[in-house]
Symmetry: C2
Subunit: 410 residues, 2 copies
Amino acid sequence: MKLSRRDFFGAAGVGAAGVVALGAGGIASSRAAAPADQGTTTASGAVEFHGAHQAGITTPAQDRLHFVAFDVITDDRAALVRMLQQWTQAARRMTRGQDAGPVGAVAGGDYAPPDDTGEAMGLPPAGLTLTIGFGPTLFTAADGTDRFGIADRRPDALVPLPAFPGDELVPAISDGDLCIQACADDPQVAVHAVRNLARIGQGLVGVRWSQLGFGRTSSTTSDQATPRNLFGFKDGTDNLKAEQTATLDRFVWVDDPGSWMHGGSYLVSRRIRMLVEVWDRQGLRDQEQTIGRTKGTGAPLGQQAEFDPVDLSALPATSHVSLAHPTNAGTAILRRGYSFVDGSDGLGRLDAGLFFLCYQADPATGFVQVQRNLRTDKLNEYVQHTSSALFACPPGLAGEDDWWGSGLFG
Amino acid sequence: MKLSRRDFFGAAGVGAAGVVALGAGGIASSRAAAPADQGTTTASGAVEFHGAHQAGITTPAQDRLHFVAFDVITDDRAALVRMLQQWTQAARRMTRGQDAGPVGAVAGGDYAPPDDTGEAMGLPPAGLTLTIGFGPTLFTAADGTDRFGIADRRPDALVPLPAFPGDELVPAISDGDLCIQACADDPQVAVHAVRNLARIGQGLVGVRWSQLGFGRTSSTTSDQATPRNLFGFKDGTDNLKAEQTATLDRFVWVDDPGSWMHGGSYLVSRRIRMLVEVWDRQGLRDQEQTIGRTKGTGAPLGQQAEFDPVDLSALPATSHVSLAHPTNAGTAILRRGYSFVDGSDGLGRLDAGLFFLCYQADPATGFVQVQRNLRTDKLNEYVQHTSSALFACPPGLAGEDDWWGSGLFG
């Protein structure tokens, strides 16, 4: 049976009373029964929401992304906690292919705003995952105040990223108190989820910045084909994969029993503008020497096939693959980025690139170490980092009564 | 057999010589043989490029859009014509699921830039259509000059749209000398096509503005389900459909034998920001009275089912459906819009809405007449028009030797 969103607004033409009845009965009966591991995709296309880790990290990378960073605009801890609880309930429902609202507009009837905005009605779950993260400024605001009494709960690893050579960061589209990573195979489903969380948070949070992405640029499981990025190269061949559980335990999941982050992961986002017009004027050989792989097969230079081992002696020392390779970087990160096109730049060029997302157990030995190693990367000529953010993504939820932030605020 | 993009860069690991050989042989043999009507989708998922009308107008609306408007930055008519011929050839190839380049890097070997950027390698045609339009400023530049000797060939219908009450147009993302509407079921395929046309036009055209869209907001054939827009309502129920050939002949296709626009159509684009946060605070009843349809079924108010006839007496006179309805507007247009989310607006809100596209035989009796009729539309409270453009889309191409602009420049 294909689970699809229940028709919250009464597709049978019933009025407000019918809506409420559907709201109470229809949902309970369609709820997923047995909890599975987070990230497990059911026959209906729904990804299990609960588990040791949040879904959306090692879940097979979906095709589309809507990422949003929020500013918290209230100083009221209780109101923030209530919102996080409402968000969790809505996320639980939406990832199951249901609409956001737990009940119809009981109090106001159809004079009240609907509990779901409606644009995903009739669409399947589409593999939706919703992953939450907490930014450094949630713990201590920019002005130094401890708004929510959690300053002393900030993990040592959650400090703003250092500056990197060549950064051209725009503060208005960087950082944030909270983030939601919504991934789905249908952009309308991802947008619907973000928009409904924003709606639920009205008056408590404001959208600081938001980024749409398409064309996942990494595989996160061994059975996914390696996609191509906007430079036309296969990207993420040597990415960590969900099956490498020991490696994930070492490099991706926080191992700190007793801490609220135990089982969580740190998320770094970087909006990387790619100067595609400049790149397109480079010769094929130049492009391949810059990346360190052949464009056609994706094989490391000097090798025959994509998954042949990288022979560092056959690659220019300043090629991207050489510098980013775990052997050289001395670490590993789980990449989960998407391509983007955000219109044009006013100079006759597309504003296009890679919205880079990566997960790691510690940003200092993850992204920061990798990025520092890239300071001589030949690819730097063709890219500009315009946005940067860091979030602490807590572990997964234990069950129906658990909520996003229970470990931090509970 | 599933037609997929040939591996331009030599997936078998061959070098430059092999690439050229593939370029000459591989393509010819995989070319579609018999021409069909434009807009016909083959088993491979490719849409026929040739025909009486351009594809991408009545073609079943694909799921994704990349729309781009170009400024022509040369005054050299011959160079512009050469580029249009190269564009046509590349478009012909890409809509068939091939890459953009007709040949490998013959002259420069792999020291030359590739003739295709590569990011669509291995992807199917994905129903790609590429539709070209000519803006008023192509005929007479903003400074009044007749750069290309075609000022006297400008159709009378191709005059800038009048101002409408409430317009908040941003000049930098309005108008343009040329436009390309790329529609596909995979955004990477649409983006790849636009990006390669821009690459071919380097030095002759610059990207003026560009818009990505998802979630088609209209059906263009009777067998497509009506999608929902970001207000959560079914949109385009009463749209013109490809099967209504007599109505299309009357309202969509230019009927002017002997003119280079005979069989063409005029395209109006409007980027309509939707104030979704304001909308989401309205009661369900308010929303339905504003639109004139029920949110669940999409039935006109007072009716039971989506396709029941609109009973104008049951609708508020200022509802959107009432004012936009052909009976009241006295005309009809073929809508083909897409939803968009372009990040946030700096005020805590999503920058989201509808990229409205419509085709008509005459803008004056099409979009202009409809839009004037909407001056009292209750929906105006929730929308802002931020971009506007008008383009003359020539008829379809006769065959392999025909090219975009042959009627205008030939």
